[in-house]
Every structure is written in C-alpha cells, then in structure tokens.
Symmetry: C2
Subunit: 233 residues, 2 copies
C-alpha cells in the first residue's frame, strides 16, 4: 500500500506497514499483530509523541545501561521488525549483547529474527534454547536487561532473577510497566532512536529516577491528552 | 491454548482466541488482528464492562432499529468471528438484513464469512459485489445501518448517503464514533447480546439520544477509570 505523506495517520500507518511486513517475513507472530494494535491505541492516547516523562526515562535508562557490567538487549519479533538498526546501534553504544527471546517459542521464527538482526549489522546475536529460558552468556549473567515490548510474566521472572529491568511500554498501567525499574512510556520507533543518541552523549553516573512517580505522570499525560482530544472532537 | 477460568485476563483472552480462530479460519484479515488489539486496549480503559453510557446508547439503538423501514446490519470479518449468533438473533428481532461488507476486499474471505453466518442460523446474507460498494437490496436502500466495528472513511460515506448510522466503537474519539448518530462505546461481544435483548423488549418509539453528550460521558468514564487504576497500581 502506498500511503501519501499528507495522510493524517501517515506515521502510524507506516509503522503498521513495518509490522505487517515483519509478519509476512515470518518475524512477527499473530499475537504480535494484536499486541501492536494495543500499542497503537495507547500511542494515540499518549499523543503519538515522546512526552517529557518519557524523555526523562530515556535519560535515566542511558545512564543505567552505560554503568552496567553486562547489559543485554532482549529482542522479540515486533522489535526486530520495527527498529533493527537502532537495536544494533544501541548494542554498539553500550557494549551490550543482543539476545532473541520469544514469548511464543518458534525455532524457525527465531532463526529469521537472528538473520534479520545480522542483516541490520549485528555482529553477534545470542538465542535462548528450547530447554533454557535464557542464553547462558546473555540474560543469565546480565545485570541490566532492556526489554522493549515485553510480557508481564517475563518481566516478573527477570525481576525475581534479580535483574535491573528497563522496559518500553506504552501502557503505564501494565504489569511490565509497573514491575520494571525504568519504564519508557513511548513508541519504540521514536524512543529507541532517542535512547541511542542519549547513550552516545551520556556518562555512566548514578541516577535517582523514580519509576512510580514517572508512571503516575504518564497516566496524567494520557488524561490531559484525552481532555484535549475530547474538547477538539 | 487452554486458559484457566481463574486467570485474571480470562474473558479478554477468550475473546482474543475467537479472533485468532477467525483468522485461522480465513474470516479475519491481518488488519483485523491489529484492529482487535486496539479494541483490547480501549476495552481495558473502559474497564472491560458495559458502562452506564453504553447501556443508554444500546437502549436508543434498539428503538431506532425497531422504528426503521429497512434496517441493515453490516458485518465484517471481526464481527463474524466474535458474535455470529447475536447477529442472527438481532436480524430476527429487528427484521433486518445482514450484509457482508469488507474494508479489505477479498472474495474468498467474503464467501467464508457468508458461510459462517449461515451456519450460525442466518437465512439470507447479502454481499457487496466487487463493482459496488454495497448490495442494491441491502445498504443501498437501507434507512438505518448498524456498523459494528467500522472504519472512519466508510462511516463518513454512509452518512453522506443519508443513512442513520449506529456504530459499536470502543474509542469514543474515533471518526466512526464521532460521525455516527448513535455510538455504543462497548465491546461487541458484550454489547451485542444486550442489544438483542433490548430489541426484544423495546417498542418502536422516538428517541432523543444526544450522541455528542454520550461520547463526552464515555471520555469521562475512561478518565475516571484511569484515575482508579492508577491509584490501585
């Protein structure tokens, strides 16, 4: 489909095309299409832009990733379809490992994701095996794990393993958002790019980011946006 | 997948299974999976229950359908997957025609939807042809059209044709919600059942339903729900 740049939903529709292409290419699961739809709705409510709260979270995430001993970026099908280049750039800027972790396990899909990340420039891609939850050189030994677009059960499991978790999640009330140490309430296609440049500029210092307060601001931003859209409609 | 009834997201996950089954059976388009995801997010914000405002809209919709000369229920893949029996019951209760209308046109998919509606008990199912937007015995001559889950462009086209439009839409700010004469801000799987019983009980009287006011209440309900969920989190 050829979407004209003047279309009021051009950006959102272009992102949707990436996900559908990812599905057609075998990277994205059916459930990934549903999850993307949920993301679209929350992005609409967030105002389809990176909010002040999200920018602060990105800054804190950059410092945390740069101070980590063994940072790992956990990638699923949707992330691989939406921002493979940014994942590679982030891994380089933070000396992080990239690990493919699928919620709906599928060997063929995993191989395709691995291949697409390498095509985007990744030198090494770790993968979980069918018998293990995580790769023994990757998340297992990681201290900081970045999970863009993760399921609540998995985020809880990472927290129980004692990991510091940085998440992207457009729903500030989701379990992932609530359980993570730093939640970036932003669309990965916007936020990941900003996170890469923040990592290039930042230094590994301490951060006193308060996630609970940030999530509460994110909820307020949605409420304000609803008020604004409601009065425009 | 076997979801235990005790799972906190049992209802939402069961509805999702119907959509995924509909996709596997060839009724639902890829874009329908994405649209369902958006619906899940808004249903979450609405509180996953039929609100007071939605109940009032259902009551108004029942009166409007019963007073219509030629009511038509427009069905797409998602509706056919989610509530085929309710569609048939509603058609019987209101003497309405059922017409299959697909946003993403696909002859094979249309045939499958038609077949599934007949299997659910529909005596007659009208279909649009590749050359026409609507069936000449259906929406073309209809005065009242019920569009559960419709695209904004299509709703605008129906309004331009002078139809009275009743819509189901979980996003009170969408173009469909804003353009329709009566918008039921509810999940079709809940709302359609209530609409069927309302049609069995109601009489064809006049209704002075104010859609603008109802949509503004729906936005407030979402804001209140965000506040409540925010403080529980």
């Amino acid at each position: 489909m050829n979407i004209p740049k003047s279309h009021p939903r051009f950006v959102s529709l272009s992102i949707r095309e990436k996900i559908v292409k990812g599905y057609n290419d075998g990277l994205v699961a059916k459930e990934g299409l549903l999850a993307h739809g949920r993301g679209e709705a929350f992005d609409y409510l967030v105002g389809e832009k990176t909010t002040k709260t999200a920018k602060a979270a990105i800054k804190a995430a950059a410092t945390k990733l740069l101070s980590a001993q063994n940072p790992v970026i956990s990638v699923n099908g949707n992330v691989a379809a939406l921002c493979p280049k940014e994942i590679v750039q982030l891994a380089e800027a933070t000396k992080a490992n990239i690990e493919v972790n699928l919620f709906y396990y599928d060997e063929a899909r995993k191989k395709k994701i691995e291949k697409s990340l390498k095509k985007a420039g990744a030198k090494q891609v770790l993968v979980d095996s069918p018998r293990c939850i995580v790769d023994k050189d990757g998340i297992f030994v990681a201290d900081v794990v970045l999970v863009p677009l993760e399921d609540g059960d998995r985020t809880e499991a990472l927290k129980k393993m004692g990991k510091t978790v940085i998440a992207f999640d457009l729903n500030p009330l989701s379990r992932t958002a609530q359980k993570a140490d730093i939640t970036i309430v932003d669309n990965v296609t916007r936020g990941m790019r900003l996170l890469v440049s923040a990592c290039k500029k930042s230094k590994p210092t301490k951060t006193n980011f308060n996630n609970r307060r940030a999530l509460s601001s994110a909820v307020s931003e949605i409420k304000n946006n609803l008020r604004r859209r409601g009065s425009l409609a």
